[in-house]
């Protein structure tokens, strides 16, 4: 097991390196000089030049890229140009918000989506099946931020059930306030993934339900609940794990927009602010983090395969 983790991590290094280089290139595509932004509107050209030199922006691009990569190797992600802190501490401050949001939505999506998918497969062609299909279609057709704003108007402004914006840290405010600050955005994020997961679970279950061993299980008197829940679902689980990995990536991506709607101080908000402020080191750092998260999720999915399906071997 450990050996596999290590091998997968080593295999991920070139991809991560490429992600780092792409994050760097993507950044330097953005016109506009951060030195001018930092120096302020009434700074003379000498002051701008001095700041540009301090930041190393006057050096050749390739040299900047190399020194950034070398620093990355030593764990130094650089300093934000706009916020008065290092990239690592800025990201570290906001990571709990995005992670809380993503994990809470995953905790809603997984059980609901899987349950609906099993129901839809079992009662194929019924209204449950049709409802799941409709939900999946709505999930890829309605803008999430739009539903978010409408939901804020209804549940926060009109009914006053949840706070309309802001984040209440778990440790400082306790689980009640934390949950009520996140439940609305988390639910909206989930709404868009539940249908997708249910649809995938459904098709996985349909493949399994027609197979001989299911008939055998029924014939030998295994209860219907156990047949579907244990024998069939266990076999459909491999597909579900893959989809769960994709969904976690989508949830993290979706949080970029949802954090704006609910004014949650997470990574998504940080990266949007950084891009608009031309904060090179911060954008590169956060982009790299997103890419890294993607790679880690994929490794986790591979590892869960091993655990779920004994037929899978990585050698």
């Amino acid at each position: 097991m450990l050996r596999i983790v290590v091998i997968r991590l080593i295999q991920a290094i070139p991809v991560l390196l490429l992600i780092a280089v792409m994050a760097f290139i993507l950044m330097h595509l953005i016109p506009g000089d951060p030195a001018v932004v930092i120096a302020g509107a009434d700074a003379g050209p000498a002051a701008v030049e001095r700041i540009r030199h301090e930041l190393g922006l006057d050096r050749p691009i390739l040299e900047q890229l190399l020194s950034w990569l070398v620093n990355l190797g030593t764990g130094d992600f650089g300093r934000s140009l706009v916020l008065n802190q290092t990239v690592l501490s800025a990201v570290g401050e906001r990571l709990p918000v995005t992670m809380s949001l993503a994990m809470l939505s995953l905790a809603i999506t997984l059980p609901v989506g899987v349950f609906l998918g099993i129901l839809a497969a079992y009662f194929r062609g019924s209204w449950i099946d049709a409802a799941v299909m409709t939900l999946a279609l709505v999930g890829v057709s309605v803008p999430a931020f739009w539903i978010g704003i409408l939901s804020v108007i209804l549940f926060s402004v009109t009914l006053g059930w949840f706070p309309s914006a802001g984040y209440a840290p778990l440790l400082a405010n306790g689980p009640g306030a934390w949950l009520s600050s996140l439940i609305q955005p988390a639910f909206i994020l989930s709404l868009f993934q539940i249908g997708f997961l249910a649809r995938m679970t459904r098709s996985g279950m349909l493949d399994v339900l027609d197979q001989d061993f299911i008939r055998t299980a029924r014939a030998k008197g295994v209860s219907e609940w156990r047949t579907v829940g244990r024998h069939a679902f266990r076999n459909a689980l491999v597909g579900v794990v893959t989809v769960a990995g994709i969904i976690l990536s989508l949830l993290i991506g979706g949080s970029v927009v949802i954090e704006q709607v609910f004014a949650l101080p997470g990574i998504g908000r940080l990266v949007v602010q950084a891009i608009l402020a031309r904060d090179y080191p911060l954008i590169q750092g956060t982009m790299l983090l997103f890419g890294f998260a993607f790679v880690v999720i994929n490794i986790c999915v591979d590892l869960i395969y091993l655990w779920v399906d004994p037929r899978v071997r990585y050698d």
């Binding site: 070139p14 991809v15 490429l18 992600i19 792409m22 994050a23 993507l26 950044m27 595509l29 953005i30 016109p31 194929r124 279609l137 709505v138 890829v140 057709s141 309605v142 803008p143 999430a144 931020f145 739009w146 704003i149 409408l150 804020v152 108007i153 402004v157 649809r199 098709s203 349909l206 990536s249 989508l250 993290i252 991506g253 979706g254 970029v256 927009v257 704006q260 990266v271 949007v272 891009i275 608009l276 954008i283 982009m287 997103f290 890419g291 993607f294 790679v295």
Partner: protein, 295 residues
């Protein structure tokens, strides 16, 4: 020579027959029909509707501001007293246009990358690793980055979104190419001296077209949704020219007292994306039966 010509005649007839069958299947496919209906109505409304109402979408009458939906203003008016219905109709031109050109551009770029990666195996690893790395960022972030780089114009949104979705189209084309290039008739073409270009243009591309079309309808839907999200984040097509996204973005500040400003463009976006997704589902069932999810 005549024998060869006769031989090449038969598969052509077969192909025509297959195309005819595919069209008949599409005409009978329920979600395809619904999708086609929704999309055609929206396109007609966007491109003919404004011509019928004859109101300028940017003309402001402050006296009329924040009028709720009524007989005179079917979708109400906004904070400048502009008619929301007219703006939604005009916004459709920009939003649907962006969706179309994103699909077109990412289709062309994805086809080039996918065919090159699939056909010239030596380049495959490099090209697809770059695509994987691009895929590692959420598409909306790639679009924000490029969109911010190119400045707030409709064309930069198109370029940004097209780049963000190239990995998807490239993967689809590459997958088809990999299957087709192993076929015996490709080998036969090669033996008879056909050049790489000829093999690609005459044999591989036509066979990629089905899966690619399916993917592009989904890209169209994504692009409409992403345009709205980008506008909401402040890097969409700039006002005052309306797009569905920037009407919502502008209406957000008044969402509590004038909900109609952001309600109707949101419905338009949802309908457009729904229509394209239904079209895509239908096309997938008919053109790409291997990927069929429904049973």
């Amino acid at each position: 020579m005549t024998d060869l010509a006769l031989g090449s005649n038969r598969p052509l007839e077969l192909a025509e027959r297959r195309r005819f069958l595919a069209l008949r299947k599409l005409a009978a496919h329920r979600s395809f029909k619904i999708g086609l209906l929704i999309v055609s109505v929206l396109v007609l409304a966007a491109f003919i509707g404004p011509w019928l109402t004859g109101i300028d979408p940017t003309s402001m009458r402050i006296r009329n501001k924040f009028k709720p939906p009524s007989d005179q203003f079917l979708m109400g008016t906004d904070n400048y007293g502009r008619d929301v219905l007219t703006r939604v109709l005009y916004g459709g031109q920009l939003s649907l246009g962006i969706g179309f050109f994103v699909a077109l551009l990412s289709g062309i770029a994805g086809t080039i990358v996918g065919v090159v990666a699939g056909h010239f195996r030596a380049l495959d690893a490099y090209l697809m690793r770059v695509m994987d790395a691009l895929l590692a960022f959420p598409a909306i972030l790639v679009a924000i980055g490029i969109g911010a780089a190119l400045g707030p114009q409709a064309t930069s949104i198109v370029v940004a979104l097209a780049v963000a979705y190239v990995p998807r189209t490239a993967r689809v084309v590459r997958a088809s190419t990999l299957v087709i290039r192993e076929m015996e008739y490709i080998e036969a073409a090669r033996v008879s001296g056909a050049s790489n270009l000829r093999i690609i243009v005459k044999h591989i591309l036509p066979n990629c077209l089905g899966p690619l079309t399916v993917q592009l309808t989904f890209v169209f839907a994504y692009a409409i949704l992403a345009e709205a999200a980008l506008s909401f984040l402040g890097i969409g097509p700039p006002p005052p020219a309306p797009s569905w996204g920037n009407i919502i973005a502008e209406g957000r500040d008044h969402a509590v007292e004038a909900w109609w400003i952001m309600l109707f463009p949101g419905i338009a976006i949802s309908l457009a994306a729904l229509g394209m997704n239904l079209l895509g589902d239908g096309l997938r069932d008919v053109l790409d039966p291997r990927l069929k999810i429904e049973s």
